[in-house]
Structure formats: C-alpha cells, structure tokens
Symmetry: C2
Subunit: 190 residues, 2 copies
C-alpha cells in the first residue's frame, strides 16, 4: 500500500501549482517536482493528472475561507456578508492574482475534462446550497422579504461573486468585489 | 508595407483559435497555420503573440452579439434584456462550450500579460458603460426606481453575467443563464 503521506503531499503541491500556473501549464513532472516525490510514485496514487485535478478542485473548495467559523452572534445576513468578506480578504492578500481555483478550472478545463468539469459543478453546487440555506434563514428571521426565489438567488449570487473575482483579477483591484458586496447587501437583498 | 489582408486573416484566425483552445495552447505557429499564411509574416504585423492577443480581445468584444441592432420600439429595460438574450443565444449555439473570450482571457492571462489584461479591462469597461447608459434610460423612463446606484449596478450585472457564463460552461446547460435573466429582471431591477 502506498503511504498516505505522499498522496497528501501531491494534492497540496498541485493545489498551489494549478492555482498559480493553470492546469495545462502543469505537467505530472512539474507537480511531482514541486511535491518533492519521485515522478514514478504519481501513478500509485492517481489514475491520471485529470483525477488529481478533480481532487484538487474538491480540496480547494472544502478549504475555502468561506467555510471558516464566523461569530455565531451574527444574524444570517451578517453571516452571509462575513463569509463573502472572508474570501475577499484572502484574494486581497494575494493582490488579486490567481483568482478562485473553481472559476479558473471551470473556465480553463470545462471543455477538456469531464472528470474535472463535474467536480467543479459539484463544488459550485455545494457552495451555492450553503448560500441558499443562509438566505432561507435570513427570510425566516425577517431580514429579507418573501419576494425573491432563494433557490435561484443563491446560485445567482455565487455566479456574480465568481464574475467579480475574475474582474478583480483583471483590474488588480478590490473595486469589483466591493461593488459586489455593496450591490448585493444594499440593493439586491434589501 | 504588408498587405492589410494578411493582418485581418491573422486576427480572425486567432479569435477562433484562442476561443477554442485557450491562449497558452496556441503558438504563433498554430495561428499562422490556421490563417494559412507563412509563419514569417506574423512579425510584419504584430510585435508579439501578446499584442495579437490584445487585438483579438478588442475585436471579439466589438463583434459581440450584445451590440447587434435591437428593435427600437423596445423600452430601455426590454432592450437590456434583448441584449443579454442575444449573447445567451450565441452561447447556446455552441452548446455552452468556449464561454466568453473576455472572461476566458481575463481568467487565463491576467497574471501573465499586462497588455492583454489591460485590453480585457477596457473591453469589460466599455460593455458595462453601455449597461449603465441603458439603466439610466430605464430610470428616466420610470422603469426602475431611483434607489440603486446604477454606476455600481452596471458593472455588477456584467460580472454576474460573466459568472453565469462560466457556470453554464461547467454544467453545459443554459440554466445558470436563465437564472441570471430571471433574478435580474424579476428581482434586482424590480
């Protein structure tokens, strides 16, 4: 049995490499070198670069700042804002390089790998389901009106956030993300 | 003087190639072959692949279905919807492969080429300024309330559209784009 350690090291190195350079630019060789493991060990752990790619997407999504603990005293809407803000803060730390690996992989690889495309879809879906759950709690708490269909609004907000992340990467500035927060919380959810 | 014809043929071939395969995957060789011109002629027309890339972005943006003529009898808000719908129809024709070249280039190249990054920023800005102009007309016509700040709302809507395009590419389905239209016109602009 291969050691669990090597697999972990490969996934962690690949999260960084794919995020920094893109999927196509990283070969199995690049990744094993970055991980400091022999190239030959790769296929003991992954059937292909594609399968590693899918695992990287799942790992990155699960480790997002979105899921960090927030102050339990916050109202649902304040919680929603705090979660978006936590992700914005991480993007600001890297000065709006790299973007979100989900959006990057979705854009770059969706037409080339069904394995990765499906994992991006699953991870986006889990994220937007969390937004929907918070919106439902906000409605129950009387923070948003009964009007909007939260089942559509959740995925819409996530897509809008992904678009703003791409835009902030283009202008190398927080402005599109601040606009996102302001339009969402001052207009859309009023 | 190089013939104008060759330059045109190069730009047109590169729009298709970059859109289909991504920027990094296309070499100058790929593009001159697709254009059917000698590789040596490339540098008579462009200082680098990067400069071609920036021109491709500008050309693609200017040729978007967004700018097609719409029924002048439509109200500003109906016009806005018709313009988004025209772009969705083009994306549906290619069965949600490829996505929007602005979003693709923004995501793929923003950290690698300032020349291309700045052209993507300019093209997104021209597009969102058009949205802002239509929103202003809609407000003047009493179709939307005086509440929302249209200067922020325009770029927000474009980013949301870009995110929905990415998402539709991931799920290979129109649903994220239909959700975009429904949330924007039934909730955000109500």
């Amino acid at each position: 049995m291969p050691r669990v350690g090597v697999r972990e090291v490969l996934v962690e190195a690949a999260v960084t490499e794919f995020h920094r350079h893109g999927y196509a630019a990283c070969s199995v060789d690049t990744i094993t070198k970055a991980a400091g493991v022999p190239k030959g060990s790769f296929y003991n752990h992954f059937a292909s670069k594609e399968h590693l790619g899918a695992e990287v997407v799942a790992r990155y999504a699960a480790g997002s700042a979105w899921w960090q603990e927030v102050d339990p005293g916050l109202s649902p809407l304040q919680q929603l804002r705090a979660r978006f803000r936590a992700v914005v803060d991480v993007l600001a730390e890297s000065r709006f390089t790299r973007g979100c690996l989900l959006g990057n992989m979705g854009t770059e690889v969706a037409d080339r790998s069904d394995v990765i495309r499906e994992q991006v879809g699953t991870s986006l879906c889990q994220w937007s389901e969390d937004i929907v759950a918070i919106l439902r709690a906000a409605r129950a708490a009387g923070e948003i009106s009964a009007g909007p269909d939260v089942e559509r609004l959740g995925p819409f907000l996530l897509d809008a956030f992904q678009g703003a992340i791409m835009h902030s990467k283009v202008v190398k500035d927080v402005e599109p993300l601040e606009d996102f927060l302001s339009v969402v919380f001052d207009t859309v959810l009023r």
